[in-house]
Point group: C2
Chain length 485, copies 2
């Protein structure tokens, strides 16, 4: 709209003028041969030529912009990212289309590769989750697995997490304050659920209700034996008492939040064409601007051996006013103890069909309500993918070549990323037989539009300075942050 | 896009020509005074003037259309309804925006009247349901009630429904076929739920599990006394046996599906300004094309006395390929035994605050699944708004001036009306104290785009023939169909 208005203010030749000059012609018939009259005619002539050319440019210009508008808003194609003159505030020119889920079981046809139509089925609305069989060919699955093996995989989680006390120390909280934060229902006692719910957030050891009873007994923590911790009982424990106890007793990999190996594969220019194709296909699938997809994390390839699992988790955390995003942090120069990966979308590809187990579970998909505490009830922990996968609301069977993708954040109602979608909670069920290979593409978007815009501007400036290595410069940043995931 | 392309094919003056004619000027300097040369110059001159005018028109035209496109797609304003030359197939030029619910509890600001901002809260996503406090002023509520009283209200449902056997007769079904249709779980026996579920659809008497036991006993229908009807037992009953039994025993108004009185108020030109304002406000609220809102049913005003209720129901039925819509039926000349009102949106206004009861209940709102049979379990019938309003998922308290609105149909994924949203099931809880006044605005849209387009074309042709009475001609059609609702 702004473009149209500003152009209208330019001097546009009035269509009233020409008839006036035509009227004068017969009146001055006698002096038609004079040089001055010829000059006047030629001046008019040139003015009109210039006007015609100016109008042609204007038509071309306004035409182009309206076409762009139309394409991006009605056909959900990519809108180019306009950079305004001011470097302080970016106007909201980028919109993120969300695919309509309609209802669970709805199937829509999508065109992702030439000469083939894929079917995309809605699996749930909370989170907005889709399944696309045959997204990758068998050959492509094979290539991705081999590229990952060539690069080498590392443990997804180290056995003994380090630095787990950092945040608490940084925040400088007293035991009373921690007790209060843990005491979600504010009854001045810590129920086992309250301990377990907290424990998953903070460190990499997975506590079960049985573990907790064991720990209470071993540490004599629950002196009155009622299964609850009072403030006095809690104060008697050191900050890492539970973890230390378990570590002393010896930890198995199956007791971690995550038991798998993974690696990262770049997808930019110069990489294997299957990886580049995959990224293009994800862009078509999600209908997001290609810049966003290209500036996102590399492809993560994960291998779960028999017995491997990944307990229930969110791929990206909630966003509070002070939360920063990993991918835009460098561009915004902000320091905050709260940082999350801001993965707007997760696209998960099954690279093989698993012989037994290994489903992706969405324990609270399409639940009417979401309450963190009610995830653990009567010793049944819905987040435990080694025990309770069968009790969740939705499970996706790993089938070679199938892709699923979902939104980890809601819309903000204005075409941008909003709050975290808590229902996007998911996990990898234990592999009971065989090996499970999957790959993840995350699309990172900062819920703060200004930060995302500033980040993209910075990257594009860097790319202009060093045009030879556009893909490396954008994704090398990611590997530092995500190598430990 | 079509417009742009066709215009580009028109002859556009080439900017190369003028320099050529300029080059010739110095070469023919001597003959500059000749009349023929003057004629040539003037012809060029006029051709350019015509071109400039043509270009100005084109700029104006393409400008206008791009602005329209932009407004309707990004700001959700109304798109004009283009009528193509062909009267057979209408191209999809009309799109119906759906308001984003984001999540339950999300609040968005909406501008509906000058100098006031309303807050619209998402109450549920299934159905997509919003609440807007203060949508009507106290004065407006008073006017609507008085206009309804002036016009006079009639019983919403007659005591003894007539013509209830029509459909069955028309379809010419044998008792075996009916038995099979009723036997939803195909166990060759009719459970009480199966009888009750069917009964609500077919006629106006509300059967409760207790009624059914009474009827079985009175008619000796369940000869083996197991609470189930076998095919033999079912065959022994006549088609209207249950209803006849209840009628013989005497019916109270509280035993009907609906116990209220109502009337219809036109909202077109010449009617009270409050009614016209209300319609405009509904257009702004729903962001639908104003033509659609104007061609919809008149305002229905309903009064529930103490003890009044409306059991759980859908405002509009499912749409199968052979289903016709009441409002487009005349335009499409189709005859089908399956007809529904095709109410895309229900906007419900509370005209007073009820002293006790009278909530609007959405028993399955945001449920994970919808199963008709599981609505009746262990003698608890979630559709019964006299008994079980407290057991439903969501209740809206009637507060004077508050509006709620919801979508009775899903999107089809292409900007038009899709399948029925079964979760839009709702009812009016029994009024325990005082009187309840509400008004309903339904927005009728045919899920068949072609039929809706043909209907709108027909109405606009009629309006052109008789421009004096545009509002009457469109809504007089409705009163015939909906007087009995």
């Amino acid at each position: 709209m702004e473009v149209d208005e500003s152009v209208e203010e330019e001097p546009v030749p009035s269509p009233v003028q020409p008839p006036m000059s035509r009227d004068r012609v017969p009146l001055q018939k006698s002096s038609v041969c004079s040089r001055s009259y010829f000059m006047v005619v030629m001046v008019f002539f040139h003015v009109y030529i210039i006007n015609v050319i100016a109008l042609l440019f204007y038509v071309h210009y306004s035409n182009g912009s309206s076409r762009k508008e139309f394409a991006s808003s009605t056909q959900h194609q990519h809108r180019s990212f306009d950079r305004p003159v001011s470097h302080e505030r970016f106007s909201r020119t980028m919109h993120l289309p969300r695919i309509e889920g309609i209802r669970v079981g709805h199937v829509q046809k999508v065109s992702l590769v030439p000469n083939k139509v894929h079917e995309m089925r809605t699996l749930s609305l909370k989170p907005l989750l889709f399944e696309i069989p045959g997204f990758l060919t068998d050959e492509e699955c094979r290539v991705v697995i081999q590229l990952a093996q060539l690069k080498g995989l590392m443990e997804s989680q180290v056995m003994v997490p380090e630095g787990q006390e950092e945040l608490t120390e940084q925040l400088n909280l007293s035991p009373e304050e921690i007790f209060n934060l843990l005491d979600l229902n504010q009854d001045n006692q810590l129920q086992p659920q309250e301990i377990l719910t907290h424990s998953r957030v903070r460190d990499g050891i997975w506590l079960t209700p049985e573990n907790l009873r064991e720990i209470y007994a071993g540490l004599h923590a629950d002196s009155d034996g009622n299964g609850l911790l009072s403030l006095e009982e809690f104060r008697a424990l050191s900050g890492d008492a539970f973890q230390s106890f378990l570590k002393r007793r010896g930890l198995k990999r199956s007791q971690l939040v995550r038991n798998s190996r993974h690696t990262w594969l770049y997808q930019g220019q110069g990489t294997h064409h299957v990886l580049q194709d995959l990224r293009k296909r994800v862009t078509l699938l999600t209908r997001l601007p290609s810049e966003l997809v290209e500036l996102s994390e590399p492809l993560q390839v994960v291998r779960y051996e028999q017995g491997g699992h990944y307990h229930g988790h969110h791929d990206s955390g909630p966003v509070y006013p002070e939360t920063t995003c990993t991918h835009t942090r460098l561009a915004t120069n902000s320091t905050s103890p709260f940082e999350t990966s801001c993965r707007y979308i997760t696209a998960l590809f099954y690279l093989n069909s698993v012989e037994g187990g290994g489903e992706t579970t969405f324990p609270v998909a399409d639940n009417r309500t979401y309450e963190e505490l009610s995830l653990i009830q009567n010793d049944v922990d819905l987040l435990d993918t080694r025990k309770n996968c069968d009790k969740g609301n939705l499970r996706v069977k790993p089938t070679k070549g199938t892709a699923v993708f979902w939104y980890n954040y809601l819309s903000d109602g204005q075409g941008w990323v909003g709050e975290q979608d808590e229902y996007s909670l998911h996990g990898g069920c234990v592999v009971t037989r065989g090996t499970k290979w999957v790959a993840n593409n995350w699309i990172n978007v900062d819920p703060d539009y200004q930060r995302q815009a500033r980040y993209q501007e910075l990257v594009s400036q860097q790319q202009q300075e060093a045009p030879g290595e556009p893909s490396k410069s954008s994704s090398s940043q990611h590997i530092d942050h995500h190598v430990e995931l």
